[in-house]
């Protein structure tokens, strides 16, 4: 279980996260929702080790991970798919995938690769093409595939639906939910589209101006009209 306790992060004078505490259990999706600038990406980047926390700590299965380097955190089993299509356009699709989990054994990597190809058949078809020839949705699949190649126990997804058609969004999110359910993955999902996110998530967290304003079962948050009006704007 990923445990976030009293986490605060700032960029110079900008306090992006204030005293944030969240539990991310295995086997389910936890959704983080909030307006633009609420601090969602900052939370994800800090968990992955790209930003250093000001105070508070993050533990994974009892081990402190906050303050470690990103390459060490991912080796412990926490993989981030960052905001925007985080693929390397100059490399082929297969090289993008192979990049993930280079430290793992040959057998493990081959198993992960065939699993990714089964999950995303289109990647298998395009494996020797450069990543910049893929469509947006395909690139998002590639980014998730690369994260899965590291053999994660925790998957951090920052707006996987950015710029995608609603149908693909639903497909990708349902796939994520199924993976969490099937393989006991802990998923922390940042989504603008709160309705879809809360539908597949078991619990939800609402961030506003860097603070947690509400957390609880997804259904409860989805039905809280007041919350929706105040922080989610619909």
């Amino acid at each position: 279980m990923l445990l976030i306790e009293n986490l605060s992060v700032s960029y110079g004078a900008v306090q992006a996260l204030k005293d944030v505490s969240i539990e991310v259990p295995h086997g389910s999706v936890t959704a983080v929702i909030g307006a633009n600038g609420a601090g969602k990406s900052t939370l994800m980047r800090t968990l992955a080790g790209l930003e250093k926390p000001q105070s508070g700590q993050v533990t994974f299965n009892g081990e402190v991970i906050s303050g470690r380097k990103p390459e060490d955190i991912v080796r412990m089993g926490i993989a981030l798919v960052p905001e925007g299509r985080s693929t390397i356009p100059e490399l082929t699709v297969e090289d993008n995938l192979k990049l993930g989990g280079m430290w793992r054994s040959h057998a493990q990597r081959n198993a992960s690769l065939s699993r990714v190809y089964t999950l995303f058949p289109v990647l298998s078809e395009r494996k020797s093409m450069r990543a910049d020839t893929l469509s947006g949705g395909e690139r998002q699949q590639l980014a998730i595939g690369r994260a899965l190649m590291t053999g994660p126990q925790v998957l951090l997804l920052d707006e996987p639906s950015l710029g995608l058609a609603p149908l693909i969004v639903t497909q990708i999110l349902e796939l994520v939910a199924r993976m969490a359910w099937d393989s006991g993955l802990a998923v922390l999902l940042v989504e603008q589209n709160a309705t879809v996110a809360l539908r597949i998530a078991r619990s939800g967290v609402v961030l506003n101006l860097g603070e947690v304003v509400k957390s609880g079962p997804a259904a409860e948050i989805a039905s809280d009209e007041e919350l929706r009006h105040a922080y989610l704007g619909y």
Partner: protein, 292 residues
């Protein structure tokens, strides 16, 4: 016409060495978005080391191997000297630091080995080969230079395209953040890039020494040629560095052959300036300088 062919053939060896130096510059650029102006200084220093080894053992291969090892180490040392200003995004400081290293290496070599040009005995004959009734401007040694260069270029190509290390290095160069998120130890990859560049430059130095002489400043002009070739090739491209390195060698050989050797630096300058002029947005429009 015979002249033309002779000049052209004569240019290949220099072109190969320019290509190796350009390759070293490109590898450093790809890993840290910096031009290492000390690169040829490092090559000069390791060539002196090779000279010492060869003079005491008479073994050219051993000398080459020692130079490569020294090049690796020197590359790593210089990386650590220069990388801090880069991290503090003092790119001006980083450039200046590489020149500081260059000055120190040249003075250091002068202290240890003296300022007088020294000869480097080639392992095989340096005399033009006789074939089809005439003497060609190509010697056994030239052929050795081509073979070693080709082997190194092929080896590097395989390393970059076929191995996990190569993939990690390329990813670290293209997008360090994604590489780190994938578990690649990016800093080590950058150091590896500098180390391989150092070894590549060292090979270039050992190869050029027998066809010229070696002195602390003798590679300065090579820096200009290699930089020209690397920039024309786009600074990011290994293939470009090799192609335009050899091309620069040929152009310079033709210019020196038809006019005068002292025109070579001017020609390099003109090539460089033209290239920078003809790229409409300036060469920097696509690849920003980045900190590590």
């Amino acid at each position: 016409m015979t002249n033309f062919i002779d000049f052209l053939l004569g240019g290949f060896s220099n072109g190969a060495v320019i290509a190796l130096m350009a390759l070293a510059l490109v590898m450093v650029w790809r890993s840290t978005r910096m031009v290492n102006f000390a690169q040829v200084g490092q090559a000069m220093f390791t060539t002196y080391i090779a000279l010492t080894v060869q003079q005491s053992t008479g073994n050219w291969l051993l000398a080459l191997a020692v130079a490569m090892g020294a090049g690796l180490i020197l590359g790593i040392v210089v990386f650590f000297l220069v990388i801090r200003p880069v991290k503090n995004s003092d790119t001006t400081g980083a450039i200046i630091a590489t020149f500081g290293v260059l000055i120190a290496l040249q003075a250091g070599a002068g202290m240890v080995w003296g300022g007088d040009p020294e000869g480097f005995i080639p392992p095989v004959s340096n005399a033009g080969l006789e074939f089809a009734g005439r003497i060609w401007p190509v010697s056994l040694y030239d052929i050795l230079v081509w073979v070693v260069t080709a082997a190194l270029v092929i080896g590097l190509t395989l390393l970059f395209t076929k191995t996990s290390l190569g993939l990690s290095m390329r990813a670290s160069a293209f997008n360090p953040e994604v590489a780190r998120l994938s578990g690649v130890r990016v800093n080590r990859m950058l150091i590896t890039g500098w180390a391989i560049a150092g070894a590549t430059g060292a090979v270039g130095g050992v190869l050029i020494a027998p066809v010229s002489t070696i002195s602390p400043n003798s590679f300065d002009i090579l820096l200009v040629f290699a930089f020209t070739a690397a920039v024309i090739g786009g600074l990011d491209s290994l293939v470009g560095a090799v192609t335009f390195g050899i091309g620069t060698g040929l152009v310079i050989s033709l210019v020196s052959g038809y006019t005068d050797a002292s025109n070579a630096p001017v020609v390099a300058l003109v090539l460089l300036a033209l290239n920078l002029l003809l790229k409409p947005d300036g060469v920097f429009s696509h690849h920003g300088s980045r900190s590590v």
